[in-house]
Symmetry: C2
Subunit: 403 residues, 2 copies
């Protein structure tokens, strides 16, 4: 008998039919002899509907009130799932983030978890009941309701799994796992049975949308095995856990892509200590989430810096950078939305130096120009034109024999 | 400068336009120099929608989970109203029942308030902010979310007004106050500028739907002046407060009616101590809410008992009564849905003994047969055929010169 945390996202509880299907699965898991703690998101488009109401009444949206508003969605889901479980004779009890003891800082709309108490969940488990916890939410040290921001329900699930010592944290979603590439672009893409936390982090960071980066980091730090699987087929999906060092590792596990970012290029920046810091501090102060940063070798005392930001942040990024240009000696600042990123991720890359060369040769063979390059020990990313993203993903998937 | 509690029901916040109108009114009240605490219900049909979802997933509906579900509606309203106030530059803060310190017993779906702490509301007021509290909800001594049942938001408002020492509790609704009769039946009915708590209690108990009985009782016990008024015209409405003994009292203030009940008649019951107690205990055990009870004088050691119950409870009432019939010696049990109740309410009745006679003469003059009579010191109620209700109300309104 194991303790499992099962997290169901919005697409898994989009209507009452899906809610009943989830209840069936939880009941089935219990019949198999397991203890279950459930984490549930708001139903389908609930959160979007609430945001629409907020936009209807106000352009001024204090975070504290937005959090109070948005947490209503998960509250409804937890109660409905408990009702659906009651119908199946499974004892259950709903808990808000606050009742579950998820204590956060006071940063509304994207709070960080400080502590998870979980006493009431342990009590419910001891009484033989299934605790059903509202994802995405907590209570601040000031006793206000907070939300955890994007991917928050995954983070709730992982945090509870860590606190309660669960054997695994199952993340149910509308896909059957993590794939070697997006199956809509590469029909031969296959589901990966297992990934290390590091690979999953790189995949999440470079465009794989299945798991939020933050929840994977949390899982890695607390050694929580994740199991990403489908709430439609219920078949086994992709495990994400400690690297299994006894086995030969795949050189490349997946080809990912991301077209949600734009590129900013700052030309002729003074190549002096502190210049880059000033630029990226100014961007951080405007809460721009800078992703890739590439700086070329200095020529004649100046250098070029390129970085990527979410497309929504391009305008503010250009504004900030252009304001700062005189102070950092930049001669030109340009923005470009028509870019995409293609990445290779694989734990085996560390020990296989030829991967980069093969990647560049493959893209070159397709006539694709590389505009930015960035690497980690287990990832290589290239920024290319948007229309080159799909052929690049297809060619790389084939070149590395991932099919 | 006064402290006012303003309560807005579902019809006052049915959509975001109405929500903005409410925010305008709160802002206006603040500009007039008053401190305001707002209590708000769920928007329009939200609660019905949530109940429909519950019925979709389960026939088994544990109260704890229903309460978790239904409290989502008020949560949304409080947050949206705070957002709408933010748009008007009025600082506000939303509070759930739990955050407002409304402590209840553990009777889910119809909890009783045990204590109101209100510390956080006082803090918000001290900071110059408008606390916006979710009506209808509290937290139990077991730390579970509870709801207060029918009329719960009115009760929340009155309880907060009592705790915070508010000058008045304003109940905003879709009518402009309490009327001398239902204006749909009596076109000449007029708004009553002022009523005593006792009169309001009798009006609420005998069919006037404007205020929930329970909230009026609470207001009377804690000496909270109520002001029932319209959230559409915003004009002054009906005050409900301590009887003003220095003034001559109206003999009859209002004619009320109620067609929501059915009548049960038990014939030939043994006229012995304890017989009626057994019957009404059995009904109470099935949570049937018995309203009027009339027992005739004993004839030959047996008596007839008639009582009224909500129409929805008629079937179960007949079942309970028929089961018990052999034990209480009843010879017959009959049910009748085709009845209605017409009542006169007025504080001045106490000192004017002729009212009953005038009432009976008036009904008789219209050819209306009286089937049951029940009186209190300030009310007389007659049960008549359903189709006699409207002519009875019209005739009585005229006979007592209420127009």
């Amino acid at each position: 008998m194991a303790l499992l945390v099962q997290k169901f996202g919005g697409t898994s509880v989009t209507d009452t039919d899906r809610m009943r299907a989830v209840a069936d699965h939880v009941a089935r898991t219990r019949r198999q002899g397991h203890e279950v703690v459930v984490v549930v998101s708001a139903m389908g488009k609930t959160t979007d509907d609430l945001i629409r109401l907020a936009n209807d009444v106000s352009r001024v949206q204090p975070g504290r009130e937005m959090d109070m508003l948005l947490t209503a969605g998960e509250r409804v889901s937890t109660a409905l799932l408990c009702l659906a479980l009651a119908e199946l004779n499974v004892g259950a009890a709903s808990f808000t983030g606050s009742q579950a003891g998820i204590i956060t800082d006071t940063t509304h709309t994207r709070a960080m978890i400080l502590e998870v108490k979980g006493d009431r969940l342990r009590e419910a488990l001891a009484e033989g009941r299934v605790p059903v916890v509202a994802g995405f939410q907590g209570v601040s040290s000031r006793r206000d309701v907070t939300t955890l921001g994007r991917g928050g329900s995954d983070t709730t699930a992982v945090a509870l799994a860590a606190t309660l010592g669960a054997e695994a944290c199952e993340i149910y979603t509308d896909v059957s796992g993590v794939f070697s590439a997006d199956p809509r672009i590469v029909p031969g893409a296959h589901r990966l049975p297992q990934l290390s936390y590091e690979e999953m982090l790189e995949i999440a960071a470079s465009g794989g949308r299945v798991l939020a980066l933050r929840s994977v980091e949390f899982a890695r730090n607390h050694h929580v095995p994740l199991h990403v699987r489908s709430s439609f087929t219920w078949e086994p999906g992709t495990w994400v856990k400690e690297e299994n060092r006894s086995m030969e590792q795949a050189i490349v596990s997946a080809v990912t892509h991301d077209t949600s970012e734009a590129k900013v290029t700052v030309t002729g920046v003074l190549d002096r200590p502190g210049i880059a810091a000033r630029l990226f501090r100014a961007l951080a102060d405007r809460t721009v989430n800078v992703d890739m940063i590439v700086q070329n070798t200095s020529l004649h005392g100046t250098t070029d810096i390129s970085f990527t930001v979410p497309k929504d942040d391009l305008a503010v990024s250009l504004e900030v950078t252009r304001e700062l240009a005189p102070q950092i000696g930049a001669s030109d600042v340009t923005g470009d939305s028509d870019v995409g990123r293609v990445s290779l991720v694989g734990a085996g890359m560390k020990t296989h130096p030829g991967v980069t060369a093969t990647m560049f040769e493959t893209l070159s063979g397709e006539g694709i120009n590389i505009e930015m390059i960035s690497t980690s020990s287990i990832r290589i990313s290239c920024v290319v034109r948007t229309d080159a993203v799909e052929p690049a993903v297809q060619a790389l998937h084939e070149a590395f024999k991932l099919a």
